[in-house]
Symmetry: C2
Subunit: 397 residues, 2 copies
């Protein structure tokens, strides 16, 4: 039996494909520090669980396809804190940020249309594009200058008649980059000049450090009909398992179109929506504490990497990832080797090889993505282990 070309050509998740090696390591008695995955260890606010426990219906019925009004309102109130106003019909609740991205791509692109995405990018952008039959055109950015965007003219060279949108995450996953106001304005100008949508994945909005200013694309009034915000409660409230996200856009006609996709899959799970709606009652201190904690973790990881011989990495200012260029020939081989052949007192580290985060063949082969979702003590140990490993790895550059 033959399967479709699009599914067989789809890459395995670079974040998850090496998990069997980690499992084998654990079976052999090793402790593995998981720096490969963005699963925060921060507690989910009790407000979520309280609302779930108080759910008291007899019939677990379909909710509205656009999402429960209470949850839409909860998102609206949240955006107001950032000075962003969305009407009730300008937000659609989705199955996590993932569905928000897939629906956005389907809504603006036909088969084989093109989307510009700065690389390295969140690896599942590849999968979503593949599912939607959309061609990813990478905008290459480099570790050496903190993964900031190239000049406007460089970007313009990539635009064709099939280009329909620019998709990017800000703060960036996997780079931790916060785009500057100038970069945001440059993308705005390009969107206007070339009649493009901007799909802005802003799920890490709260994770901006060093007092940097974060500019949401939703702040740009003159392109409000071109901006699609995709969002999620997963990281903001450490509620990855809820799979609650949304699409927000001031382009009401677009939202009416996307509502048809929402109706197709009927609704988003009711109980998780009930929990998520109550998150609006979480105090601001929760975010402040979380931000401080991640900022500390970032420091631990960055300071350690900076002092490792041959490692290249600019200080990331957002999200909870960093891409590091390692002095090894092949980062995936190195990651596997750390799981199969290396330990310090029976402890080792798992990272995500960065190659799968690039759209351009051959890039990222000597890079890894490190997620700093663990506590400071664990991160310190993990960095020591990585340092030791690099010193003795036989296949260095």
């Amino acid at each position: 039996m033959n399967f479709s070309q699009r599914i067989t050509s789809m890459q395995q998740s670079p974040i998850r494909k090496l998990v069997p090696y980690a499992e084998a390591a654990k079976k052999n008695g090793k402790k593995v520090y998981h720096l490969n995955i963005g699963q925060p260890d921060i507690k989910t606010p009790v407000e979520f669980f309280d609302a779930v426990k108080n759910f008291n219906e007899n019939v677990l019925a379909y909710s509205l396809s656009q999402g429960m009004p209470e949850l839409i309102n909860s998102f609206r109130k949240y955006y107001e804190k950032y000075g962003i106003h969305f009407d009730q019909d300008e937000i659609l609740i989705t199955n996590g940020g993932s569905e928000a991205l897939i629906f956005s791509l389907i809504a603006v692109c036909d088969y084989q249309d093109e989307v510009l995405i700065p690389e390295p990018f969140y690896t599942n952008y590849n999968g979503f594009s593949n599912m939607a039959g959309v061609k990813v055109v990478p905008i290459t950015t480099k570790a050496e200058n903190g993964f900031h965007l190239p000049e406007k003219t460089e970007l313009e060279k990539l635009i064709t008649t099939r280009t329909k949108a620019i998709l990017l995450s800000n703060p960036g996953n996997p780079t931790g980059t916060i785009y500057t106001k100038d970069e945001i304005y440059m993308l705005r100008d390009i969107a206007k000049e070339y009649n493009l949508f901007i799909i802005a994945d802003e799920v890490y909005r709260e994770f901006v450090y060093d007092g940097l200013e974060f500019t949401s694309f939703a702040h740009l009034d003159d392109i409000k009909d071109r901006v699609i915000i995709t969002d999620s409660i997963s990281k903001r409230y450490s509620a990855c398992g809820a799979r609650i996200g949304c699409i927000a856009s001031k382009n009401k006609d677009l939202m009416k179109q996307i509502l048809k996709l929402c109706q197709g899959r009927l609704c988003v799970p009711t109980i998780e929506q009930v929990g998520a709606a109550n998150l609006i009652n979480v105090k601001d201190e929760y975010f402040e504490e979380t931000n401080r904690e991640y900022s500390k973790r970032r420091d631990v990881v960055y300071e350690a990497l900076k002092n490792m011989d041959g490692v290249v990495c600019e200080k990331p200012h957002g999200a909870f990832y960093v891409i590091a260029k390692l002095p090894v020939k092949n980062a995936e081989d190195f990651v596997v080797w750390m799981l199969t052949d290396f330990d310090v007192n029976n402890d080792t580290v798992m990272m995500a090889p960065a190659e799968g985060f690039y759209g351009t063949e051959g890039l990222g082969k000597d890079e890894v993505r490190i997620s700093y979702c663990l506590n400071v003590e664990d991160l310190k140990n993990a960095m020591k282990i990585l340092d030791e490993a690099l010193k003795v790895y036989p296949d260095r550059k």
Copy 2:
């Protein structure tokens, strides 16, 4: 701003698009019997809510992309009751039956490949196919012979080099048809001869009446590598809002491919999975009672329709829908008219125009889908109202 061709050409849900008329009717003080939507009024088993209330983690984390092992096991045990054995890696948990269908289509079809679907069909098959860029080739079936399949030779005429699968629901939504063993075997033969997959949507497996035998495609050992079962707890346990479904197939290579799609969207909501896993502890009496209740409801609706002047409808034997051909020029106009211009003591009825359940242009214009999810008393009233309405409707055929 232009949207994609595929989204603008997507039809609005025929089940939901007339809701504004129903809302207006309610605002004007009318009571509306909702026969348009398959939302059961049966209580969701307490086992679901108990498990949810006992969920006691601090961090609502991602679960495994393939689904929680406990939930996969719960589905496995459930299938064993039907004499169907699936290994742990032959089941993937999905966001309802909807995602199971989308993933199946993406896995076996490339862009513009074709899928045969008996019409009238569950209207969202159109939406899923549209999203997946797959062409629906309808196999026309008719009210007059209970929507059973045409001869093999008729079916074969529809097959081209682009045909990759036959998709069908059994028991049928919106027809209530239970395919006979002969029909199942005919489809098996076609699948073998023409190298096709069978995507069998069996979410109404428990809703078979009149002592009829239900044959699952999973029982056909000689085409086990061609069969993809899509399933859901929505109807079986009256848990539509949980959005828990699965894909099950003995084709392990196919499941490995589909797992990549599961990894792309990370996971299905954790708490709803916890609730769903506990449904394996629901006693068999729950299904027996539910089945008896729906069988009674079916009788109420069918007996009433049979006695209405000019209405054509064969007795449905499964699911909880019936397609009725009405003596009106245009069923959608009639449905709207019932909401805007008709009532009996301030009560009226909403149905789903059946045109949207057909792939062939022009079919179903005088048909409606009636869902018998309401209790017997309400259904009796609703049928009386429909009868009265048909008598006085000005635009009869």
